[in-house]
Amino acid sequence: MTDQYLTVSALTRYIKRKFELDQHLTTVWLRAEISNFKHHNRGHMYFTLKDDQARIMAVMFNGYNRALNFQPENGMDVIVKGQVSVYEAQGQYQLYVHEMIPDGVGALHVAYEQLKANLEREGLFSETRKLPIVKFPKRIAIVTAKTGAAVRDIISTIMRRYPIVDVTVYQTLVQGNDAKFEIVDRLKQINQEASADTIILGRGGGSIEELWAFNEEMVARTIAESSIPIITGIGHETDFTIADFVSDLRAPTPTAAAELAVPSLVEVTRELKQLTGKLDEQLMQRLKDKKYQLERLTSSYAFKYPKQLINEKEQELDRMVDRLQKASLRQAVEKRQAFDYLVKRIETVDLKHLVKQEQVKIDQRKKQIETNFYQQYQRHLQRFQTQLNKLELLSPLKIMQRGYSLSYDKNKQLVKSVKQIVPGDSLTLRLRDGDLDCQVWGIEEKDNVTGGKKNGERKEF
């Protein structure tokens, strides 16, 4: 069960959120009487707003009340703008006042604020739709009252600064109910006639009610529609009219509007002189630049010393020719060296020596042949002599030296038997030291070898 109960804080915060989410309560315009006013020494204002039947607690914090141009007091009727919210600590709803004006002019202010808000929303105050002010106008139209300080201030200022401009004053009412219609007509007229390149809309200072024509919507819209730039100079520095917001340029005073509308002739002349001077200066500078550029180019190394281009090639060619000749000579020299080396090698081949060697060989062979042959010959000779010696030693003729002789018949046959012989045969009797030719006279046969006579038979020649 206890879960269903809220804390007071939660409830209060909930209620506060509800207040803050309500669009009607976030911006409230209220007309009321002040009571219980207390200006806290820290700057905040606390008071009650009431009417015949009801009251509401209100606070205006320091940051807001500083802009007030009057001192609120009890019993004063005021118009306030603010937001309703909850002061949690006290569980109290109250009005947090942002703006406050005394009632009476209050209605005008509301209208002013509402128109301002509308036109702003429409974009009429946008800087982008503002026309540029002509710097050197030829004709200026002044829309203001025929008499009064404003028109005098404007004309004298223009004539002092820029006397070459045409000035036309378009007389108009600047206060009262009809003022807005005249102002609108004049502005339209000037636009139709295209009789000016700048319009000054001016009026001297006054109360908000006196300046009210310049807060009228039709004036504001006419200003916005103008194809000629409009400078407003209305009231004093602190006065901001709707016309000021819509105009192409707002001046704080009529005199200031005149100053903004035209340049000073002295300044213009000075400016022209400066520009003309710059013209000369710049052209000379450009010429100088170009000259310098040209000089820089024509004095560049390659351009200034064109022979250098050739010189390098000359050197290159010289080097190449050098290399060509060296290489060619070297080729010839190397071939010559190789050739000479071969020739030398041929020449070191000693053919004569070879011939001599061969000759020596031949001679050796010849000698060997002779020697060998001689040895052979000697061998044969020795063999022969050995046999010859032996033969001589064995010669049977030596036996005959002891007195023997050998008889040979006429046929040179050794006579070994008497029977080989008949008397009368010739015999050769070989003795040791010669032969005897003999004739057989008689034959006497003997027995055998014993030497006995055989039958004593004797044959005679």
């Binding site: 036309t168 007229q189 520009l275 003309t276």
Partner: protein
């Protein structure tokens, strides 16, 4: 130069030309052309400024009549 041109336009033009001439890389011929044009414009402006006439301040009254404003008034 056409008379219709405003002093304002011509001064702007002149200023424009000076700005262009101030650029270092502007071609020579263009620079000369600009210069020539600039001289012309400055002459025109000069003449314009010298030619200060006494301007009459006129008043368009309630009846839309154009009347010269009394000097005393101004």
């Amino acid at each position: 130069m056409a008379k219709e041109k405003s002093f304002d336009d011509v001064m702007s033009e002149l200023e424009n030309i000076v700005e262009k001439l101030e650029k270092a890389d502007i071609p020579l011929e263009e620079a000369v052309d600009y210069y020539q044009k600039g001289i012309e414009l400055s002459k025109w402006c000069d003449e314009r400024l010298k030619h200060v006439e006494d301007k009459v301040v006129s008043l368009i009254d309630e009846n839309n009549n154009k009347v010269p404003l009394d000097d005393e008034e101004v």
